[in-house]
Amino acid sequence: MIKLFRIEFKKILTYKTFWILVGLYFLFLVLGIIMAQYILNNIVNDINKHSPIPLPHVTLYFFPEVWQNVTFFASIRYVLIFPAIIIMILITNEFTNKTIRQNIVTGMSKQEFLVSKLQFIFLLSLVITIILTVFIIILGISNSDEQQMKLMWHGLVFIPVFFLQVTVFMIFAFFCGFLLRNTGLAIALFTLYSLIIEPVVYFILKIPFLQPNQVSQYLPVNAVIRLVEYPSISMLHKVMNLNLQEGVNTMHCLIVILYAVVMIGLVFLVMHRKDL
């Protein structure tokens, strides 16, 4: 296991594209989270200019709600697509450079090759989660009063859920990259599907007479994203009458894990059957 990780680490160590994309991802993530409150309050200010009853300003970064607010933003499809693209580049590179053939010929088993990639996904996901956790704690401590500090760890459950989201989304990307074997094609199709096709299908399935079967809930990307629901922004809460997410729905998590297991199983099957 450690050996496979060492090999994988050597592969990315001098790969500039990887480090640039990872850097951009974290930059985008941190800036996005910091900007969110500012942008929302600008909107509130605009509304207040024309509204007789002034709306209160939005605060996102206090404990315990900061956990949900930040993990929600970090797991919207436009943000999750970043690590997914990184994974697709890494896996399809092995095919376009034919280094997967070299790895196998040199003495890796086909299964080891897949395990090394999956292991890398878990590790990358873990690193992302840890960095986000540290960021949330810093944000929370610097924005909470004494009363709120007492509830500091109350939203911690969103962290393992976020880890699950990032990991599974990257497994989707891995699945797509592995089957298509072509960097451009994989990124284009995956992005098209998760950002456009699935939302459209989701919308169609939401048409009232289709509503009862709830199929839309089980579309893969949506299944991942809904694990962390719309955050409890106090303004939105009041205006739009949204419900606070009490906790995590275990059933929803299991569905996502099932998706991941099926995709990993298919990848192993295809690897076993198909010529390289």
Binding site: R6, I7, K16, N97
Partner: protein, 305 residues
């Protein structure tokens, strides 16, 4: 003793190996045995199934039928670690330098010692080891591929068109490397469409065409399978009739004033002369035309076209 002359332990045995793509048989019932210390050439024109065969042997392609064994047991990642190979194009990480690429090979191979400097020196890449793979010329990429195959002194070396893309100096160098490695007792399997290459390097050869094996044996046997003579006499028509009765007669072809005769076995000039004389033919011309491997190879291909 020349390499490959001892009948040693089998390194590789293939039986009935078959791979088809749709209706096309890329490899068709191939059975071959390679023994320790042999320099085994797989000879065939483009598309004859050489690379497909080697890819099957290295677990890149699943065969549709037949089986093969490395070192007397079923193939595994363990057996592949004992084999150094260059298949088709050199495949490396383009953004890494030569040394780093070789270090990945070492890691996969479980090499316990540093070997990259040695193989870089052997292949003449040492001065460029710090440059990225993508900056290499094709010849240098091919050298790095050979270097990676030599990492850790594997027991078997598989080389698919090893001199492809090299300049004349590089080709000579590469042959030198292969011969040096062979002297150390390493078993070498070379696929090539260049007869000259096989003739110069190999001890044994299998000739492939359209996935079928046409010949397998020692290179020296293949060279002496049959010999050709140029004959002429005052009555060439009579000469033709007589020579066709020779027990080892193969084929004949009139060439200007002469008749070109190919025999199916080793025949010496004196024997031909006396055979013809006994049958009432007096020769005005008799010359031995030892056929090159190339002629024999082309004949093999024609016979099976």
């Amino acid at each position: 003793m020349k390499p490959g002359e001892n009948k040693g332990e089998p390194i590789l045995s293939i039986s009935g190996l078959t791979k088809f793509y749709g209706k096309i048989h890329a490899v068709d019932g191939l059975s071959v045995e390679v023994d320790k210390g042999q320099v085994f050439g797989i000879l065939g024109p483009n598309g004859s199934g050489k690379t497909t065969t080697l890819s099957i042997l290295l677990d890149l392609i699943r065969p549709n039928g037949g089986k093969f064994e490395w070192f007397g047991s079923s193939p595994s990642k363990g057996s592949r670690k004992r084999i150094g190979s260059v298949i088709e194009s050199p495949n490396f990480y383009p953004y890494m330098n030569g040394t780093r690429n070789l270090k990945i090979i070492a890691e996969i191979r479980d090499l316990k010692y540093e070997d990259h400097e040695r193989v870089l020196k052997i292949t003449g890449l040492f001065d460029r080891r710090k440059d990225k793979f993508r900056t290499y010329s094709f010849g240098m990429k091919q050298r790095l591929a050979i270097a990676s195959a030599l990492m850790g002194n594997p027991e078997v070396l598989i080389l698919d068109e090893p001199t492809n893309g090299l300049d004349p100096q590089g080709i000579a160098q590469m042959r030198g490397i292969i011969q040096d490695v062979a002297k150390e007792g390493t078993t070498i399997i070379i696929a090539s469409h260049l007869l000259d290459e096989v003739q110069k390097i190999c001890s044994h050869v299998a000739v492939l065409n359209k996935g079928k094996m046409l010949f397998s044996g020692k290179v020296s046997e293949m060279l002496s399978v049959s010999d050709a003579f140029e004959l002429s006499s005052s009555d060439n028509d009579h000469l033709k009739k007589v020579i066709m009765n020779h027990p080892l007669f193969g084929s004949l072809e009139p060439k200007d004033e002469m008749i070109h005769v190919v025999f199916k076995g080793r025949v010496v000039a004196e024997e031909i002369n006396s055979f013809l004389y006994q049958n009432g033919v007096i020769l005005s011309h008799l010359a031995e035309r030892r056929r090159t491997l190339e002629q024999h190879f082309l004949e093999l291909l024609q016979d099976n076209a």
